[in-house]
């Protein structure tokens, strides 16, 4: 509200134009509102997951004796326990932990790129944007491996999972896995595309000629949101 009162103090009405009542540019504001609507979409997916899960049976036996069955919801750490290049090794949730680490790190490099943009430091923006792109691509690679592992399963004829059949439990579990992590992965993919676009524009000097690096900030908001969603997916899909 400070900008509004400043405008009135100088004798002009806040409605005369030329001021940003929320202290943010049009583009940034619209990005915020888009992300809010996107948050509703992801909430709908995750809350529906909660509803369907709570309407299914619960495994009541000992965790050590757990086996997959379509009659109850699986314990996530029993499903996601494989890591690449270590076939047969049981490492529950380690790979998801690595993916979380990658995404958090790429969020830091993004915020450092935004910070460098504020200082008009083109070289630093280029450096941090490149790291962010590498992080995003690495995350997508991990997800591709995890999907492939989930789909193929133990390699037996009735192993693995698709939309109607699921080795790990009720088919609904696989459906939610594909929809929630798929929708999030698609966001990461578009995020990497946007990141590449602004990296390209930085390298060719578009933002330097424009006189500001606000595009980095706007795409940065989107990228952090993708990280934010992953925090929730990580908790509600893998941990709980």
């Amino acid at each position: 509200m400070s900008s509004t009162s400043a405008a009135t103090a100088s004798g002009r009405s806040a409605w005369d134009g030329g001021v940003s009542p929320m202290g943010a540019s049009y583009g940034k504001l619209m990005m915020w509102f888009f992300l809010l609507s996107d948050a509703f979409t992801f909430s709908a997916l995750l809350i529906t997951y909660g509803l369907v899960r709570s309407s299914h049976g619960v495994y009541t036996g000992l965790v050590e004796n757990f086996t997959f069955s379509p009659t109850y919801w699986p314990i996530p750490e029993k499903v996601f326990e494989a890591i690449p290049f270590f076939h047969g090794l049981e490492a529950p949730l380690v790979f998801v932990g690595i993916m979380t680490f990658i995404l958090i790190m790429s969020s830091v490099t993004m915020v450092l790129a935004v910070e460098a943009g504020h200082r008009m430091d083109r070289a630093a923006v280029e450096k941090w944007m490149l790291w962010t792109i590498v992080g995003g691509a690495a995350f997508l690679g991990c997800q591709a491996w995890e999907w492939s592992h989930f789909i193929h399963g133990n390699g037996l004829p009735d192993g693995g999972a698709n939309l109607v059949h699921n080795q790990y439990g009720p088919p609904d579990f696989a459906d939610f896995f594909f929809f929630i992590t798929g929708f999030h992965g698609f966001h990461v993919f578009s995020g990497v595309c946007f990141n590449f676009l602004i990296y390209y524009n930085t390298v060719t000097g578009v933002y330097q000629r424009r006189g500001h690096y606000e595009m980095i900030e706007k795409v940065g908001l989107y990228w952090h949101f993708v990280d934010l969603v992953w925090v929730f997916v990580f908790t509600f899909f893998y941990l709980v």
Partner: protein, 109 residues
């Protein structure tokens, strides 16, 4: 591109304190995640409610750091902050309504 070089660019030197704060935020996020792993394997599955509450609380703390510091919302104008935060009440409502429905469905089954 030749004329681009003619524009005088004043590169402001980096503010060490600000950058350190960003790395600290990342470190906090990582520590919370490691703590969550500790709970996932340290607290037995018999204490399901305790586990779930720790996970949800930690998630909200992490979300606060990401939105507040990385997305800079904590430092934006108050109007913008509340315009984003108040509508998320609908999510709380959606959560309440759907979990209530879910419990009703499992009762019927």
């Amino acid at each position: 591109m030749a004329h681009a070089e003619e524009i005088e660019i004043n590169v402001i030197p980096p503010d060490k304190a600000k950058i350190k704060k960003l790395w600290m935020t990342a470190l906090i996020l990582l520590i919370i995640t490691i703590f969550e792993f500790g709970v996932a394997f340290g607290v037995p599955h018999e204490y399901k409610d305790l586990r779930v509450w720790i996970f949800i609380t930690m998630t909200i703390v992490k979300a606060g750091y990401i939105v507040g510091e990385f997305m800079h919302l904590r430092h934006e104008s108050k109007v913008l902050l509340w315009s984003i935060l108040i509508p998320t009440l609908f999510i709380i409502w959606m959560l309440t309504a759907f979990i209530y429905e879910g419990m009703a469905i499992s009762d019927v089954r």
